[in-house]
Structure formats: C-alpha cells, structure tokens
C-alpha cells in the first residue's frame, strides 16, 4: 500500500460481529443510529439524529480478481486504497467517484451513489454494484447479488442500497465491477457559450466517438476522449478544438469532480440539478457549471428553493440542495404521494424499527 509518510494506516479488520452487536444493542434500546464512514459526505442530506456508528474500522479488500473485473471490499475501506490497487493493475472504478475528503470510504460512496464526469458514458455507482453483504434493521446479516456480472436470482437489493443514504441497512461488503483503465486520454477545449455547448455536447454523445466526459464552465466546453492511442487520435482530429496539456486536463477534471473549481464556492446554496442532458440554459439567476454532458448542473444561488425545484421539475429532472441549504427541511426533491408511500413501505421492509439514519433522505424515512 502507498501509505504517506506521516499517515499511519489502520490494519484491515473484519468488524462484522461488533457492528451486529451494536445494532442489536441499539434495537434493544430503540436508539436510532447514524452510520458513518470517514464523514467526508456527512454534509449531504438532511440532518440525522441517530447515535454515531463508525464503520471506518471495518476495512480491507476481501477479493480482487483483475481478470474477472471484480473487486470486493469491506465498507470502511478507503476509496483511495481501492483506486490505488486497481490502478496498479491498469483498472479503475469507471464511475469516477468524488471523494470530498481524504478518508472517503467505499460504503459512503455507494450509499451516496455519487459519480464523476465519466458517469454518462460508463455508468453510475449503482451500475457497478454486483453484490452486497448488509445488516438489515432487524440485525440480520444478509447477502445479495454476488461477484458475477449477471445475476437475476432474487430482487436486486444490492443496487437498491446504492443511493439509499444508509437508510435501508448497514453495508458490510460491496462487490463492484471494475473496468480496464483507458490507455490514453485527451481533453479538448472549445470556446462556447452555454446554449451552444449544450447542443454540441449532446451531438457528440450521439455519435460513435470515445467520449468519456463533457463539461462546460465559464465559456469553455471540455470534451475528454478515452481509449486506444489510434482511436483517441482519430477522434481528436475529427472534433478539432485545443488539446489541453495532460496535467492541466487531469487537474481540471479532478477539480470539477471534487468541486474545487471557483464556481463551486461562494454565497448561497450549492444546488445540484439532475436533468435530461439536452435541457437548455436554465432560467435561474446564477451561472451553472455543467457536467455529465449536460445532465448534471451545479450552481450557487439564493433563489427560492421552490423555484429551483420547479425549474428542475419542468425540465423533467430534479434538484438537490447539495451544500449549505436548510438541512432541517427538504434537501432532496419532494416525491409524489404514491411514490412516497412505496418508499415508506420499502423502508419498513428493510428497517422496520427506523434504526438507520432516520430522516437523512426524507422526513419520516
């Protein structure tokens, strides 16, 4: 492992039993829990009232078979450790997850289902989840899915865990499909206004080109191509634009993914709008940073939450008050009655006593 000089890495440990005991104890006392990895994404979602249950010590890569494109790790395993191991074998997590902190864990990443610039072209976290071992709200250890890519035995409870913000169960282990890392990548920059960039990014995505990311920020459209040397070279020649220096390009995509671009800071609420990618410029008072080829837009604004949600909803998408919003109120997009009722019943089926992260996603879930 590539440990930093001053960082001491705790040893791999299987804390399944301790975690199960903690859950049984919480059940006995009827005391809800807040499941926490490193806390790097603790800012996301509504405020949760439960008692902290740290899973950070439950860590370690359980199996990794490069030729099977599958990796299984305990939920507390740092993402950085996983990515570094995969990198040494020329592979990657193709959903390019944001870390939002040095200690980001696999469990938190899956629970939040966040994905980076490659998402529209490769898939989201949920698309790569093959199997999970979980503890449900009754304290039972259950295993769903597995380490194979095709598996339709039983309901896909593993994928359901992705993006559930820890409200349906405690993740013990996750098996992920991994992919070969591209041999070469090139990023092209184009001067574009926002409406034209949206048109161009979607035209690009509709053509058989090895596009792996498309973003727009402050008058510049960025298109990343990934693949073999000849494939990328041919696509670059076809698209034109200015090829960025590799290091500059790498830094740009990383800053976009980790929200270090200037546009992410400032006043107001940081909103995430998830939209059909070809949606035009938004009638809101702040400029967006566009990722996911138009499907994900970030903006800081003081505009009324209702209005931001209305704009997203009108376009067929939804809005999340990602950072610095009212964490007592609605963070995620409100859902209709039938859908909310289904959510409550699904929550009851997996966590009947409301033990895990109560209210983190929606009040009452």
């Amino acid at each position: 492992m590539t440990a930093g000089n001053s960082v001491s890495i705790p040893p791999d440990a299987d804390l399944t039993e301790a975690l199960q005991n903690a859950i049984h104890a919480a059940l006995a006392d009827q005391r809800p829990l807040e499941i926490l990895g490193s806390g790097s994404k603790r800012f996301l979602g509504r405020e949760s009232s439960g008692q902290r249950l740290d899973i950070g010590g439950h860590r370690g890569i359980v199996t990794y078979e490069p030729s099977e494109l599958v990796m299984t790790a305990r939920s507390g395993t740092p993402l950085a450790e996983i990515e570094s191991l995969l990198g040494r074998h020329g592979q990657m997590l193709a959903f390019e997850p944001p870390h939002f902190g040095p200690g980001a864990t696999l469990g938190g990443t899956v629970a939040c289902n966040l994905a980076g610039p490659r998402r529209p072209y490769a898939g989201a976290t949920r698309d790569f989840v093959l199997g999970t071992r979980v503890i449900n709200g009754k304290g039972e250890i259950l295993r769903f899915g597995g380490e194979v890519m095709k598996n339709v035995a039983g309901y896909d409870i593993s994928r359901l865990m992705a993006g559930a913000m820890g409200t349906l169960g405690l993740l013990l282990e996750v098996s992920l499909k991994v992919l070969p890392a591209p041999r070469v990548e090139a990023t092209l920059a184009f001067e574009r206004d926002e409406p034209q960039a949206l048109v161009d990014m979607n035209r690009c995505a509709g053509r058989p080109l090895p596009v792996s990311a498309a973003a727009w920020c402050a008058g510049v459209m960025y298109v990343r191509l990934s693949g073999s040397e000849t494939g990328v070279a041919a696509a670059c020649a076809e698209l034109g634009g200015d090829e960025m220096l590799p290091d500059t390009a790498l830094a740009f995509w990383d800053a976009l993914k980790e929200q270090r671009l200037a546009a992410f800071s400032g006043e107001g609420v940081l909103w995430r709008l998830s939209l059909p990618p070809a949606t035009g410029s938004l009638p809101l008072d702040a400029e967006s940073v566009i990722d996911w080829g138009g499907a994900q837009r970030w903006l800081r604004t003081d505009e009324d939450a209702e209005r931001v949600r209305w704009v997203a909803g009108e376009a067929g998408g939804h809005a999340v008050a990602f950072k610095d919003g009212d964490r007592q109120g609605s963070v995620f997009h409100p859902m209709g009655g039938v859908l909310m009722q289904l959510h409550r019943r699904v929550k009851d089926a997996l966590d009947p006593h409301g033990l895990f992260n109560p209210g983190r996603m929606y009040a009452g879930l």
């Binding site: 898939g123 194979v148 095709k150 994900q296």
Partner: protein, 505 residues
Amino acid sequence: MSCPLPEIRVTSTVGKTEEELSRRRAELAARLGKQLPAGTLLTHEDELRPFECDALSAYRRQPLMVAMPRTVAEVQAVLRTCHDMAVPVVARGAGTGLSGGALPLEQGVLLNLSRMDQVLEVDVPNRLARVQPGVRNLHISERVAQHGLYYAPDPSSQIACSIGGNVAENAGGVHCLKYGLTVHNVASVEVVTIDGQHVRLGGPALDAPGYDLLALIHGSEGLLAVIVEVTVRLLPKPVYAQVAVAAFARVDAAGDAVASIIASGVLPAGLEMMDRGCIEAVNGFLDVGYPDCAGLVLCELDGTQAEVSSQIEAVSGILRDAGAVEVTVSRSEEERLRLWSGRKAAFPAVGRLAPDYYCMDGTIPRRHLARVLNEIKALSEHYRLSVVNVFHAGDGNMHPLILYDANREGELQRAEKLGGEILEACVAAGGTITGEHGVGIEKIDQMCVQFSPTELQQFHDLKAAFDPSGLLNPGKAVPTLARCAEFGAMHVHGGRLPFPDLERF
C-alpha cells in the same frame, strides 16, 4: 408433455367448492367485461390454450381468463378488479421467457401486454425512446436506426421478446460485458401496482430522487408491479466491428485465453465460448466451418475503425499466445456475420441433436470454468444425458444444454434433476443459479440453495411492500420457507459447502 407442477395456494380459493369457483369466475368475467372493450377479454377454452405456457413449454397450465389491454387505464381496471376480488394476476409479454415466469394460474387472470406495442416517442437529443411494454426489443433499434442510434441489450430472442418482459427479467445478451444488462439501459418505467395506482420510477435524467426502485423492478419477474411503459436509453451505433475466432485443443486453455484478453485491458463487445459438443452441432447444422476443436472462443470488438483495427491485432496475438491452434479474423462485414452465424444458431443446432433440450443459465466466476465444466461432465455421465455448453465467457454466464427425450419415461425428470445439480455446482463455485433467464417456476427450488431463510424472508417482505395481498405472480421467483424445507436443500453460503471434500453428484 407435462411436469408435476408445484401447487400454488391462492388463499382466496382455498376451501372453495367447484360451484363457488365457477360463480366467482362468472362474476369476474362480468365485471371485467363491463370495463374492457370488446375482444379484450378471452374466456373460451380455445382462446386460452395459446397462453398455457411461455418458452419453458414443459410447464403448462390454462389460465382462468386472459385480458389483453391496449391502454394503461385498461390495465388499471383489470388490476383494481382483481385486487378487489382477490384474484391473482400473471403478467405476460411476448411469452419468450425461459423460466416459466409467465406460467398462468388456473384461478388467475393472465394479463397479456403484447397489444400495448406502440413506440410513443423518440427523443433524439436526449437519446431516449419511450415505448409501451409490448414493443419488441429489436423493433426499438430498427425505429431509431435512422438517427444512428440503437438499443444495446440484445437477448437471443430479441426479434420476438418484448421490452416489458426484458425489464421484468433484466434480460442480458451477448454484448452485456461492454454495454450492460437491461437495468443499465433503461431510464424509467411506469408501473401499475396491484391496487391500480400508476407511478413512474426513474426519469429522463441520469438519476431520480429517492430509492432506486427502478433497479428493483428490473428482474422482479412481475411480482412487484405491472410495467406499462418503458423509456430506454439509446446509444450511438458503433461504426465498425470485427470478430476473432480462435480454436483451442483444451477447454481450460480457451478459458485462460478469455481471462488474458480481459486482463490485457481490452473490453470486447462480445466474448463467447462453445465446447466440442456445441461446435459439432453447429457444423452439422450450417456451413460455418468452425474448426474441429475442444473449445472455440469468439471475441468481437467494436468502436471506431482506427480503434478496432489496432485492438483486433492485439487480441489475435493474445489468443495465439494462449495456445490457440487457429485464429481467424473477420475481414469484411459479411465474414463477421458468417462467423457469428454459428454461435447465433447454437440453440437450434443443438435442438437437432435430441427431441428436447433443457437450457440452464448458471453464472460462475470465470476462473472456476474448468472445474465446473468437469463437474457438469461427471453429472452428465451420472444421469446418462448428454450436455453441450455455450458460454457467455466474458461475463461468466453458462448455458449448458441438457439433451433429453420427453417421450421416454423419466427422462424429463432426470434432465430436471441434472439441471438442478448443475445450478447447485454454480452456487458452490461462488456463482448464481440464473444469470439472465430468471427464476420463474423453473429454478425456484434452487433459490433455497442460493439464499438463506432470512434472505428469502427479506425478499418476501419487500414483495409485500409493493403487493401486500400477494396477488402478483404468486408462487414464482421466491420460494416460501415451507417449500424450501420440503425441498430439503442445503443453503450454500458464499461458495462454501458444508463438507467441501465430499464428492457430489
């Protein structure tokens, strides 16, 4: 031919006399008849016969009646009425399913969705197609071809199977390794719950608020809700594809070659394998001229011409290094299609070897291929039935085909036993009993091997969240704990058998 069917108890009919059942049937027909247009409800025995089975024809049962709605409102009317009268409902698309998922119930309504077959909208800028559930898989790609787009998942029945069924089964195909399963290529579905509520899961953006109920619906085999609309994602059609076909003298060498290709960082669009029995069947069926060998690997690459041309050379080299005795690379589109034609005709070719065959669908970690193939061979000898193997090698999905003759006393039963043991061998190797065909009625006993009682109970609880009265496709996909106790199977956890050293057949 027929099999002893597992009994499915529908609480509403238990203890009812013939007379009561007949009165119920008349009442149901009258109530549905009032709400549905003429010709939408089939009740005569002759009309019902075509629906007595899906593509798993060994299991047959005549439904109480068949409803063939054309609109969401008609689906809602059927479900509300059935809910009201506690009548079970089995949804069916094109009836191409291989696990008996659409097998009717004698006291239930078969809800046939094949008349809902319209493409409602093609959204080219967002690369989406909104279609009704009865639209055929291949038809979507045909409709959007003019825009240079296509719908990627291509189950082998794609000419006939419908998209609603694809979602219900989470159908795969030969291009899953690179392009994913149905669940990776669907943006949203609209469903009707058993009490007639209409709700959309997912949406035209890349994600939706709340739990991923869209993922949960995929592969739920009609037990949670009825799918009435599907919005699929479309991809740009790759401009160029080439296939390399390699012959190996040993099956395990072929398996190693597959592993080497993946480890090299290439992501093939298709990666298939056939064993000797299958190659012989294909060569006897059509003039494809596959080399006579123990294992054949087909590796297809797609993308831009520049990309494919450079990679196909690399792949050919890997195949040769892995011990291939012969490697052929397609040099034209005609040749590519010809080289694939043998693989695509594998099932009909095998169909000529025996009056019947039984297709299994286990998936294993690829590194255990040689071991599982050996176990299959031993089982085949033990049960005195031939087995030939086709294999989606890229993703570990095996399709052992068990050859039998249903007209010979006891052969079907032997074939089923052999099939069951093959699936148990897959679970023991860390795999699963079904990769893409679904559990249905066929593999319901093997679910007891793959899952523990608490896991099965969790499935039942989740089912109840959507369908508290248990009226949607009861008796399929998830066995009751009582059934597992009767079946007496050992739950094999995490690939560890209780006594790994004991020989098992």
